[in-house]
C-alpha cells in the first residue's frame, strides 16, 4: 500500500491550493479527483471576475484554475483523476483511503487528510416545488454544465428561481446565448448574490429581479410549459391568492449550496449546523485528529480567492500535522452573525495569524464587528455595511489575547443606525 503524508480529496480550487501548500511545506502528497480533469467547478465558469482579490486581475474560471494546475504540475504532485473515494477507514496513526478507478480498487495510506469535496446545489424538491415532473427544470450548475461544457442549450424562455450567484451568472449567460430570461425570483427580501453580479448580470441586460417571490408549482407533462409564482410573507411562506402563471420552457434553480460532507460524516467528523461544514479550529482541523477541511466543503464561499486561501491553510497544517494534545476553546457567535469559521481555537497552536471568516445574518448598515473576550471587546472593526451574501474575512492575532481554557470568545456585531 502506497503511503503519503497528506491525501487531498477533491481537485477543485480548494484541493489544488491545499495540495500545493502541503507539498511546499515538505509533505508527500496525493490528490484524488473524480473527474477527468483538475479544476473542479471552475472548468464550467467561463465568465470573468475570478482572482480579483488574489491576483488583482479579472480571470475566467478556467484561467484561474490554470494558475494552480500549472503550479501543481511544477511541484510534481501525485494525482489520480477519474478516481473516486469509496470509503475511508481510520487506522492507527492515519487513514486508509479506498479508491476506485479504471485500474480497479486500490487503497492508500495517509497520515493526514484534507477534505476539499466542494458543495452541491439544493434541488427543486428541497425548496418544496410541487406539480408535475417535466424536463426543463435544472439547477443553475447543471444548466451551466450543459451550456458551457457540453455546448448545448438547456432553455429558450426561462424563469430563474433564486438570486444566488450562479443563478445570476446563468441569467446573463443564457441571455447572451439567445434565450429569453423572463425574470429572477427570490424568496428573500434581499438578493442572495453579490451586488456586482446583480448589476453586471441583471441590470445590464434588463432582467427583472422580483424579491419576496417564489416558484410554488411547475406545469407540463413532458417539457416544462409554465411555472406558478407566489408572493411570500416575511417568513418566506407563500401567500395564498397571489399566484400567477408564467409560461416558460425552463426553470433554473439557484436556491442554495450545501457543503458535501458525506465522507466527513462517515468518519464521524462533527459538523456545524450553521455552515453545514465541519467545525474546525484555526488550523482548519476538524473534530477528528488529522482531518482538515477547506473550500466550499468547509462553508460556502462567494469568492474563489477565499476558497484557495482556506485550501492553503488546510494544506499547510496537514503537512505540519503531528498528533498532539489539543486545548480547544469555542468561538461563539451572537445572533447578529449567520456563522463564523473557525468555530474553535486550539490554544496549543500558534493563532497569531488566524484567518476569520464570517457573515452577518441580516443586511446591516453602519456597524461594528467586535471580538469579545469574557465579555470585553478585544478587537473591533467598523463596516459601512455588512450583507449576508458577502463574506468578510479578517486576519486576527488570537495569540496576543492571553487566552486560557476558561476564556470565552464571542463574535458580535453592534449596529448604530440600521436604516
Amino acid at each position: 500500500m502506497k503511503s503519503y503524508d497528506v491525501v487531498v480529496i477533491g481537485g477543485g480550487p480548494a484541493g489544488l491550493a491545499a495540495a500545493i501548500s502541503a507539498k511546499q511545506n515538505g509533505a508527500s502528497v496525493l490528490l484524488v479527483e473524480r473527474e477527468a480533469r483538475l479544476g473542479g467547478i471552475l472548468k464550467q465558469c467561463i465568465h470573468d471576475g475570478f482572482g480579483l482579490v488574489r491576483f488583482k486581475e479579472k480571470l475566467s474560471g478556467p484561467e484561474y484554475a490554470e494558475r494552480f494546475t500549472e503550479l501543481f504540475e511544477e511541484e510534481k504532485i501525485d494525482s489520480l483523476t477519474l478516481t473516486f473515494v469509496t470509503r475511508i477507514e481510520k487506522e492507527k496513526d492515519g487513514f486508509r483511503v479506498v479508491l476506485v478507478n479504471r485500474n480497479g480498487v486500490e487503497a492508500v495510506f495517509t497520515k493526514a487528510l484534507v477534505l476539499a469535496t466542494g458543495c452541491r446545489e439544493r434541488t427543486a424538491k428541497q425548496v418544496m416545488i410541487h406539480g408535475t415532473r417535466p424536463s426543463g427544470v435544472f439547477t443553475a450548475g447543471t444548466a451551466q454544465h450543459f451550456t458551457n461544457l457540453l455546448g448545448v442549450m438547456p432553455a429558450k424562455k426561462c424563469v430563474i428561481l433564486g438570486s444566488g450567484d450562479i443563478g445570476l451568472i446563468m441569467a446573463r449567460r443564457l441571455t447572451l446565448e439567445g434565450a429569453e430570461v423572463l425574470g429572477v425570483y427570490e424568496a428573500k427580501s434581499t438578493p442572495s448574490g453579490l451586488t456586482r453580479n446583480i448589476h453586471q448580470c441583471l441590470n445590464d441586460y434588463n432582467i427583472p429581479l422580483h424579491l419576496s417571490h417564489t416558484v410554488t408549482r411547475v406545469f407540463g407533462e413532458d417539457r416544462l410549459t409554465a411555472v406558478e409564482i407566489s408572493r411570500v410573507d416575511e417568513r418566506m411562506t407563500p401567500i395564498e391568492g397571489t399566484e400567477t402563471i408564467i409560461e416558460c420552457d425552463a426553470l433554473i434553480l439557484s436556491v442554495g449550496l450545501i457543503p458535501e460532507n458525506e465522507l466527513a460524516e462517515a468518519l464521524s467528523v462533527k459538523l456545524d449546523p450553521r455552515t453545514k461544514g465541519p467545525a474546525v479550529n484555526g488550523q482548519l482541523m476538524t473534530s477528528i485528529d488529522g482531518i482538515f477541511s477547506c473550500g466550499n466543503a468547509l462553508h460556502v464561499n462567494d469568492l474563489v480567492d477565499y476558497v484557495s486561501e482556506s485550501g492553503e491553510i488546510a494544506g499547510k497544517n496537514a503537512a505540519l500535522y503531528c498528533k498532539a494534545q489539543r486545548k480547544e476553546i469555542d468561538i461563539s457567535i451572537s445572533d447578529k452573525l449567520l456563522y463564523a469559521v473557525p468555530q474553535k481555537l486550539d490554544l496549543n497552536k500558534d493563532n497569531s495569524k488566524t484567518t476569520l471568516y464570517f457573515r452577518s445574518r441580516d443586511v446591516l448598515n453602519g456597524c461594528t464587528f467586535t471580538i469579545k473576550k469574557d465579555g470585553e471587546p478585544v478587537f473591533s472593526k467598523k463596516y459601512a455595511f455588512l450583507r449576508p451574501p458577502e463574506m468578510e474575512n479578517l486576519l486576527i492575532d488570537f495569540s496576543s489575547m492571553s487566552l486560557n481554557e476558561n476564556s470565552k470568545i464571542e463574535l458580535d456585531i453592534e449596529v448604530k443606525n440600521n436604516a
Binding site: V105, K125, M153, R223
Partner: protein, 567 residues
C-alpha cells in the same frame, strides 16, 4: 343485494339526483351530480365490499373534465396486421408478471404499454411494501392471493435478481390497556390469515429493535414476513425475463379501440397499427374500465385514488430498518393501509402514502398538502423524521373498484378477454400469485382453440446489472479489471459507474432516456437528484446511440432536455 335498499339510501343522501339499477348482475348508478366526491359516495353507497356484483358508475359529474387518455405522439405501422396469441395491455407489475409466466409456453405474446417505460404509473409510484396480509377479509380476492404472493417473493426475487428483504413490520400502540384486545385480535388474525410468525412484542423489545420510534409505544404487533422490494425494479426485471423468453414488449404503444363481434374481440387498434389477438389480457390499471368498455365487457368501475410518498436521504434511512406505523382507532374506515415509514431496499426512508379520491387518472402532480398529511401522521410513529431530509416525492394513482377488491376473471360478456383489474394495494404483493392464475386461465382458453406446448427454451433466471458498490473490494476489483468502465463513477451520490450505465443500455428492454437509466440502475436517485450526473448520463446515452445530445430525452419523446448547439 337489495336494489330497493340501495335506492332508499341514495334517495336519502342525494334526493332524486341518482338512481341505481340492477341488471345482468351489475349495479349501474345513473344520474347527475355536481361534485366528484358525491359521485364516489353514491357509488360506494351502492357497492358492497368484496362483492362480485360490481357497481358501474354512469353518473354524469359536472365537475369532471374528462381529459382523453394521453396517447404517445409516435404513430407508425410497426404492429399493423400482427396476429398474436396473447395481447397484454399494460406494462405495470400485473401485465409484466403475466407476460413472464405465460412465456413458459410456446406462445406469441405481445405486451403493449402506452408510456415510454414500464412501471411509470402505479407500479412505479408506490411504497414497495410486500404486505404480510393481516388486515384483509376472507372471501376477498385480496385475501385469497396475499399470502400466496407474499410467500413467493423470496424465490421470485432470487430468480429475477431483484433486491428484496423481509424487513418486518411493526404496528405500534401507545395505550397499554389495548394490549389484551390486540393480543386476542392477533391470535384470531393468525388463524384467519394462516400466518404463524405474527407476535406481540413489548415496548422494550420494540425499542431494542427500533430505538428511534416514538418513546411511549407500549407494545407492537410484529409481522416478520413483511418485506420491501423496489417496485419498478421488480416490474422491469419481470419484463426483461419475459422478453428473454420470447415475449415482445412494445412501449409507447396505446390501445385506442377494439372491434368486437359476437362476443369476441376481433382486433385491437393501437397507435402503431391493428393487432389481431386470440386473447386479450386487461392489465391497464386506472384505464382497465376503459379497456373493458372497448371490449364491450364493462361490469365494474374504477375510482382513481391518488397517494403521495416522500423519499428521505439515506442518512435518515439509518433511523430505522423496517416498516413501522401507528394504529389510529379508525379501523376499516380509511382506504389506505394507513401508510407508514419504510426503510427501502436502497436504504432510504420512505414516508407515505396518503389517499385522496380524484377523477384524474393520469394526474400525478404532487401537492404540498399531501406532504404535510403524511409527515404529520408519520411523526406520530417516528418523531425525528423531518421534511428537511426529503430528497424527492412522487404521486401515484391507485385503481380501485367500488367493491375495493381485485377483478381476476374471464370476461363476462366477451369471451376472449381476461381482466386483471381493480388492482391497488396490496397488488404488488399479490402480483406473482395472480400472474400464475391468469397464466392458467389464458392457457385454458387457448387450449380450446389449439394445442399449447411448453416453451423448451424458457428460463426463469434473469440477471440484473451488477451493483458494484455493494460488492467486496476484491469482487469489484475483479470486475473492473474485466471492464474498466466499471471503475468510472458517474453518479457520486449512488456511486454508479459508466460500465453499469452501458450495461443498462444493453439490457433486454433498452430505454435510452435519462429516466429509463435512472429507474434501472439509479444514477440521479440520490441526494443531488442528478444535478451532477444528468449531463454525464445524457452524454453517455448520446454516445451509445450515436446521436446528438439534443436527441436524448428525459422520458417521453417530447420531454426534450436540450435544444442543440449554443451560438
Amino acid at each position: 343485494m337489495n336494489i330497493d335498499k340501495i335506492n332508499k339510501k341514495l334517495q336519502k343522501q342525494f334526493g332524486s339526483a341518482v338512481k341505481a339499477e340492477l341488471s345482468d348482475n351489475i349495479i349501474t348508478v345513473k344520474g347527475k351530480l355536481s361534485k366528484w366526491s358525491d359521485v364516489v359516495a353514491a357509488c360506494q353507497t351502492a357497492a358492497t365490499k368484496y362483492s362480485e356484483i360490481h357497481v358501474v358508475n354512469d353518473i354524469i359529474c359536472e365537475e369532471v373534465q374528462n381529459k382523453p387518455m394521453r396517447v404517445p405522439k409516435l404513430k407508425d405501422n410497426a404492429l399493423d396486421g400482427r396476429k398474436v396469441d396473447v395481447l397484454i395491455i399494460g406494462g405495470g407489475i400485473s401485465g409484466v408478471s403475466i407476460a413472464r409466466e405465460l412465456s413458459k409456453w410456446k406462445l406469441s405474446i405481445l405486451l403493449v404499454e402506452k408510456e415510454a417505460d414500464l412501471a411509470l404509473q402505479a407500479s412505479g409510484r408506490n411504497d414497495g411494501e410486500v404486505h404480510p396480509g393481516v388486515d384483509l377479509s376472507k372471501g376477498s380476492k385480496k385475501h385469497y392471493y396475499i399470502r400466496k404472493g407474499n410467500e413467493m417473493y423470496g424465490q421470485i426475487c432470487k430468480e429475477l435478481d431483484v433486491p428484496f428483504e423481509r424487513v418486518g413490520q411493526y404496528v405500534c400502540f401507545d395505550k397499554a390497556w389495548m394490549k389484551g384486545i390486540i393480543y386476542l385480535y392477533a391470535l384470531w388474525r393468525k388463524k384467519h390469515d394462516g400466518i404463524s410468525d405474527t407476535e406481540i412484542i413489548s415496548g422494550e423489545e420494540l425499542k431494542r429493535r427500533e430505538p428511534n420510534l416514538r418513546e411511549d409505544f407500549k407494545f407492537a404487533i410484529s409481522n416478520p414476513s413483511t418485506g420491501c422490494v423496489c417496485p419498478y425494479g421488480l416490474t422491469i426485471a419481470y419484463a426483461e425475463n419475459a422478453a428473454m423468453n420470447g415475449a415482445e414488449i412494445f412501449l409507447n404503444t396505446a390501445v385506442t379501440d377494439m372491434q368486437v363481434e359476437g362476443g369476441e374481440i376481433k382486433s385491437v387498434e393501437t397507435n402503431r397499427g391493428t393487432v389481431y389477438p386470440a386473447i386479450v389480457i386487461n392489465a391497464a390499471g386506472v384505464f382497465s374500465e376503459d379497456i373493458a368498455a372497448m371490449a364491450q365487457d364493462r361490469f365494474f368501475s374504477i375510482h382513481p385514488r391518488r397517494g403521495t410518498n416522500s423519499i428521505l436521504d439515506k442518512k435518515a434511512g439509518a433511523f430505522m430498518h423496517s416498516v413501522a406505523s401507528t394504529v389510529s382507532l379508525n379501523f376499516g374506515k380509511s382506504h389506505t393501509k394507513g401508510g407508514g415509514t419504510i426503510h427501502t431496499v436502497h436504504h432510504n426512508l420512505l414516508l407515505g402514502p396518503d389517499a385522496v379520491e380524484t377523477y384524474e387518472k393520469e394526474n400525478t402532480e404532487t401537492r404540498k398538502e399531501s406532504i404535510k398529511t403524511v409527515f404529520d401522521k408519520q411523526k406520530k410513529t417516528m418523531p425525528s423524521v423531518s421534511e428537511r431530509d426529503i430528497i424527492t416525492y412522487f404521486t401515484g394513482v391507485r385503481a380501485p373498484t367500488f367493491e375495493e377488491d381485485f377483478i381476476i376473471e374471464k370476461g363476462r360478456k366477451t369471451k376472449n378477454i381476461i381482466h386483471c383489474a381493480g388492482i391497488q394495494s396490496p397488488g404488488l404483493t399479490t402480483a406473482p400469485a395472480v400472474a400464475l392464475d391468469i397464466e392458467k386461465m389464458a392457457v385454458e382458453e387457448l387450449k380450446k382453440i389449439r394445442a399449447v406446448e411448453k416453451n423448451p427454451d424458457y428460463s426463469p433466471i434473469r440477471k440484473g446489472v451488477p451493483v458494484l458498490n455493494e460488492m467486496s473490494d476484491e469482487e469489484r476489483n475483479e470486475l473492473i479489471k474485466q471492464n474498466p468502465d466499471y471503475g468510472v463513477i458517474v453518479c457520486r451520490c449512488e456511486e454508479i459507474s459508466k460500465g453499469e450505465i452501458l450495461d443498462a443500455l444493453r439490457s433486454p428492454i433498452c430505454v435510452p432516456t435519462v429516466d429509463g437509466i435512472k429507474k434501472r440502475i439509479r444514477p440521479g436517485m440520490g441526494r443531488c437528484q442528478g444535478g451532477f450526473c444528468s449531463p454525464l448520463v445524457t452524454q453517455i446515452i448520446a454516445e451509445f446511440l450515436g446521436v446528438p445530445l439534443s436527441e436524448v430525452k428525459k422520458s417521453s419523446e417530447t420531454s426534450v432536455i436540450t435544444y442543440g448547439k449554443t451560438k
